[in-house]
Symmetry: none
Amino acid sequence: MESLTTENIKKHFIKEIENGSISIGQKLDSERQLSKEFKVSRSTIREAIRELNALGYLDTVNKVGTYVCSKYLETATDESSLKKFIDLAPIIDLMEVRYILESNFVDLAVHRAEESDLQKISNLVKKMKTKNISETDYYKYDLEFHYLIAKSTHNVVIVELMKVIRDRIQSNRELFIESGKQTMEKDIALFESIVENMKLKNVKETKKLYDEHLRTVTATIKGS
Amino acid sequence: MESLTTENIKKHFIKEIENGSISIGQKLDSERQLSKEFKVSRSTIREAIRELNALGYLDTVNKVGTYVCSKYLETATDESSLKKFIDLAPIIDLMEVRYILESNFVDLAVHRAEESDLQKISNLVKKMKTKNISETDYYKYDLEFHYLIAKSTHNVVIVELMKVIRDRIQSNRELFIESGKQTMEKDIALFESIVENMKLKNVKETKKLYDEHLRTVTATIKGS
DNA sequence: TCTCTCAATTGGTCTGACCAGATTGAGTAA
DNA sequence: TTACTCAATCTGGTCAGACCAATTGAGAGA
């Protein structure tokens, strides 16, 4: 048998992961173990794992182990892929997509929201209410609210898209019009209603309220 | 000075490349040389280089050297970065997003479709009609149809998303159920009506027809 | 049964070595 | 001077064995 190269090992794992032989979240054997199994040195294994990390297939945790990436999005995203694309896209086009996505995934969110999701959203809204927050802070919380709703869909594509869209908006804050205290308070009340309706699994009402808020938000791009 | 980690080295090079301190095509020092410069072991340097290769920043040629990747700038803007993300996403999640997008951007498409867009769509439908095409070919044409509709929105984010979604579906064809001659013919008739209604700028009817087709399409994922 | 302790395990890094192909430059032949 | 040859050198790829610090899990002790 010919000896294996880093490239061979890499391809082997990609194949295994893509056809499902290794399932998402599964922990791989340790590097030392793998080097025995493949009869190569630990460095060869490590270099293959490094690449697969960069490619988003694996996620290695220091002193713990290497896992098939369930949250590959986080790793694959922040350096290269999706973010770069979103960051370069015209903000108008992006907001259009955002509106389409958000106004349509809200019902998925209601259906699939777990207790923990609702809890997080509740806590966020509470934070917005109790403190006399600044508009800048409010802005962040607002985006976070939308992101948490996205997370409740438990659809990784939606989550990841919303994450990078959120980041893009945050870093282009100057393009958006300030909300003003009045809108802020009105929105927070809206958030409360939304959470309550989500808890009651009241899809229709949640959707209506969410859409109302969305229209406010997306109408605040300067000059459009 | 604290000692450098693979992560540090990686970030260092990314920064240098992105701000242009290292120019494209330039050859890096040898691994042994770099390990001296950064005062780390060669393995650390190698692992950083491995990642940067996977991320598309560097290109290493066996026994020759490592070069700053000329492909880097190209890939940053085009779809390949996005592609990586889409290709890794669970197909179910992706189809959900696809459905949300498509069923909602169709009205944008009707509004914004230019003469040339309509022409292209027309031609495609004609091709599907006249020839006695195989199911495999039909499959491609179908995806192309959806893609052309997306293009008519003139929203680059939508176009890019649909492009990579289309490619992903095409390469995972086995996951979808064959349509059968009957569905095929029915669909082609549907396509014709859609084009005609687009030409008439009849948003409501187009949307209705398109949605009808979409439901057929997205219901054909095996085991869902 | 529960808590705490500690040794085994894990990934990250280091050193130093060998291989085989690529590069280069000095010396030879024209 | 010019063209060619070929060996010394350099390169990335791989290997073996070592140490570190954080994590983890099983066994000791309550």
